[in-house]
Amino acid sequence: MTRTTDTPATVRPVTEQRRSPRRGRLSGGVNWPLTALAAVLALTVLIPLYLTVVTALKTPDQLGGSGFEWPTRIRLENFSDAWNLTNFPRALLVSAIVTVGAVVLTILSNSLVAYAIARNLHKPFFKFLYYFFVAALFVPFPIIMLPATKEMAVLGLDNPVGLFLLYTVYGLSFNVFVYTAFIHSIPRELEEAATMDGASTWGIFRRIIFPLLTPMNATVGILTCLWAWNDFLLPLVILSDPAARTLPLAQYVFQSQFNTNYTVAFASYLMAMAPLLLVYLFAQRWVISGVMRGSIK
């Protein structure tokens, strides 16, 4: 079997082994004071998360203190209450539709547009297109929020479909920027050879360019996913049907109705954060390298 057919699981122990003697030699080089500092600083991230978890488990009468006390009696009904009061399954479904729709449509369409632009920058039309999209990076959403909301309502797009369409279109500015930089590094010889073999431009994109863009697709996908899942302002103004709310929007509505019901509210926050947090825990290495890649290009 060749290396390429190895699964990552079988590759990893090999590289670890190869690396370990070198690490062993450097183990005296581990900076323990700095490691301790990192551990202390990590508390700034962990403490608010800890507070969210313990508050979500408490009964309301345990809220008197600083909030950091360990729960003496656990009330799991907080979660079922939050589940019903925020219509959690519904909000989860809407958030999932919006996020998956935005990620898939963004990767497919934005890479295609960037490919057309990157290979034709010598033509005035595509050069104009490039600067037109990138210039829009300077136009933040709050500035076009009022007319865009009105227009989406007129077009009948004040729903989850319209929302992921907006993420796809508004993402173009940044994504065209990173995709074209990446495409410039792909040698044209590949495409020229394929043209000789009679491949069409669409065929070249589908079979050669798109697969080569995989690392960039991952980066764009991760950033779009974080944006669409966590955004609040766009769903707030675009979604008009109270039955179709994303998770952050559902938290906002819940908060304005039951603003003192902390234990149930925190259970609800925890449930809203959990899906993406779980995905992240399993894919963290991949997420971080993806974000880093986007910044180097």
Binding site: L26, G29, V30, N31, L34, T35, L37, A38, L41, A42, V45, P48, T52, L63, S66, G67, L112, A116, I117, F125, F126, F133, A136, F138, V139, P140, F141, P142, I143, I144, M145, L146, P147, A148, E151, M152, L165, V169, L172, T195, N230, D231, F232, L233, V237, P248, Y252, Y262, A265, A272, M273, L276, L277, R285, I288, V291, M292, R293, S295, I296
Partner: protein
């Protein structure tokens, strides 16, 4: 036109049409209505530059600009200092490096609205107890209810979330520095601080620029975290520009007026970004 170049147009033109429909057209209609007294519904008349002139006499608008700038500049500075420090720490030879990197990125995976609600609880319940226990006067009541201090709470929460992303950009920058440079500096006996100021910082200059520009632009648009923490209060002390546009435009019947505000805001953001890019890039070249 050859077959292949026709295909390229087919790839790009639909996206252009969508972009113009959903981004450019709203922007232009917005500019158009900024010269009218349109309330968001019903009839409207042209009022010329009246909206623009009124903006400069409107205390609520002016104070939202000064709050937004104070908040955005402070947070940008705080985030970039802390993120650079944290990136250096995470790039040093520490144990569990990957695990720490993963952990410090968590805030970026969470919705800032929800983070805001959690910190709202900490600011109004936990911190006052700590303040009373330590005998610190200003901390013994909720800082979010304090007109002079509420903005610091918003800075803290925004920084807590944004540092994660900046750290990753700085880490990416630090990895582009060849290790040989440090070995040579080490042989020459350069101090740690000297290595930072002569090697590290100049080598990641481009990452510093991009971080500063992205941070400032992001914080100038602040909305979610303010809704969750103070909802603009106490009074209107922490109303950001985005919030004034939202409230006036959707709830206050000031569509035309708030569009004038948006146009001015756009010009301000473009000007700030251009100035920032120019000065920072000139600095980069100087190193």
């Amino acid at each position: 036109m050859t077959q292949s170049s026709k295909a390229f147009y087919w790839m790009a033109v639909p996206a252009l049409v969508l972009f113009v429909t959903l981004h450019t057209v709203p922007a232009l209609t917005g500019v158009f209505f900024s010269f009218t007294d349109y309330a968001g519904y019903g009839k409207w008349n042209f009022v010329g530059l009246e909206n623009y002139l009124s903006l400069f006499k409107d205390d609520r608008v002016l104070s939202s600009y000064s709050f937004t700038f104070l908040f955005a500049i402070t947070t940008t500075v705080v985030v970039n200092i802390l993120a650079l420090g944290l990136a250096l720490l995470l790039n040093a030879k520490i144990k569990f490096q990957t695990a720490f990197r993963g952990l410090f990125f968590i805030p970026n995976v969470l919705a800032i609205l929800i983070i805001g609600y959690v910190f709202n609880f900490i600011f109004s319940n936990s911190l006052p107890l700590l303040g009373q226990w330590l005998g610190i006067d200003w901390l013994s009541t909720s800082i979010l209810a304090n007109e002079d201090l509420a903005w610091l709470g918003i800075v803290a929460v925004s920084a807590w979330q944004a540092i994660a992303f900046s750290v990753i950009l700085y880490l990416a920058g630090l990895q582009t520095i060849p290790a040989e440079l440090y070995e040579a500096a080490g042989l020459d006996g350069a101090s740690y601080w000297r290595q930072f100021s002569s090697i590290t910082f100049p080598m990641i200059g481009a990452f510093f620029t991009i971080n500063m520009v992205l941070s400032l632009k992001g914080f100038l648009q602040a909305f979610d975290q303010i809704v969750a923490l103070t909802n603009g209060g106490p009074g209107t002390a922490t109303e950001s520009v985005a919030m004034v546009i939202y409230r006036g435009g959707f709830q206050g019947g000031e569509y035309g007026y708030q569009m004038a505000n948006s146009v001015v805001y756009l010009l301000v953001i473009v000007a700030v970004s251009v100035i920032q890019l120019r000065t920072l890039q000139r600095k980069e070249a100087d190193f």
